[in-house]
């Protein structure tokens, strides 16, 4: 798998992301600066990592979403390439129009930095094939604006088309307002675009990929992506 990690000013999770890709998917990513107008030839996966691009000025992800490299990402996604956005990367994808909806201030107003339990709703996507449907994984969140919102028509379509891929749940997989820490509608933690090749999620799977981190539940996402492309290069 040929991967590329986008680097915007103010992003701070790009090295963790690169390490997770190397460790779990055997893919040494190209680091692509935001002013680039093209992705490296043969790229299979583009990752938008977490952080605070442009200091979260204006709206989270708003300015990064208008940077030159995003036109290349838009074209790449339109041709079927896989795009993964984590945390600020998810916010950037929403602001860029590659995913519907918006991530608003957490309902409780506080920045939340702790482990979340998320239920993998589908295992038949390139991003989730390393898991079982219904499996609950423990993945850290660290965000102030993760409260997913969209108009009711969009939400109904996301739900109806099975494009809600991750939901915040209790450790046993039960839906509960107590475990939907940021107030997202339908406890949404991650969604797919209509074509199924762009995924955005607030939790950080790259934070749980080594024993030293205390949990390896995040490995499945990267290992699954690696398997998706194995044999193709």
């Amino acid at each position: 798998m040929k991967s590329a990690v986008l680097v915007f000013p103010g992003i701070n999770r790009e090295r963790d992301m690169a390490r997770a890709l190397r460790l779990c998917a055997g893919s040494d990513p190209a680091m692509v600066w935001h002013t680039e107008t093209a992705l490296p030839a043969g790229t299979d996966l583009v990752v938008l990592p977490g952080g605070f691009s442009y200091g979260d000025y204006l709206r989270c992800g708003a300015i990064a979403a208008r940077s030159p490299v995003m036109d290349a990402v838009r074209a790449f996604a339109a041709s079927g390439g896989l795009v993964l956005g984590i945390c600020n990367g998810f916010q950037i994808l929403c602001e860029a129009g590659l995913l519907p909806g918006v991530l608003m201030r957490n309902a409780g107003l506080k920045f939340i930095c702790k482990d979340a339990y998320i239920r993998v709703e589908r295992a038949d996507t390139p991003f989730t094939r390393g898991y079982d449907a219904g499996q609950v994984i423990r993945v850290p969140v660290a965000h102030g604006e993760g409260n997913y919102m969209a108009d009711s028509e969009t939400i109904a379509r996301l739900e109806g088309d099975g494009r809600i891929v991750f939901r915040y749940t209790a450790p046993d997989g039960a839906l509960s307002p107590d475990w939907n820490m940021n107030g997202s509608i339908y406890a949404i933690a991650g969604i797919l675009n209509e074509r199924g090749n762009v995924l955005g999620m607030m939790p950080h799977p790259e934070n749980h990929v080594e024993d030293l981190m205390g949990c390896t539940d995040g490995r499945g996402l990267f290992a699954g992506l690696g398997r998706h492309f194995s044999g193709r290069h």
């Binding site: 708003a62 208008r66 602001e95 519907p100 201030r105 309902a107 107003l109 969209a150």
Partner: protein
């Protein structure tokens, strides 16, 4: 020309920041405040004297960057 773009949350969109400010005003004892919605104001200098052109540029700025029209409305004014 001086212009102002005002961006506000659409009605019905939850505004936890506005709610927190509302609560703070109440705890300060400020009377006569029923509710608060928080928004943003952009004061913008526009070159030239063509109002129509300025308004078109500001509308484009609001649509393409200043507002996220999924959750926000905007208003463009030439203020002098």
């Amino acid at each position: 020309m001086k212009a102002r773009v005002t961006v506000t949350l659409k009605s019905g969109v939850l505004d936890p920041q506005g709610k927190a400010i509302e609560g703070a005003l109440k705890s300060l004892g400020v009377e006569g405040v029923a509710s608060v919605r928080q928004g943003k104001v952009f004061d913008i200098e526009v070159p030239g004297a063509d109002r129509g052109r300025a308004e078109a540029a500001l509308k484009e700025a609001a649509e393409r960057l200043l507002a996220n029209t999924v959750i926000e409305d905007y208003r463009v004014e030439i203020v002098g």
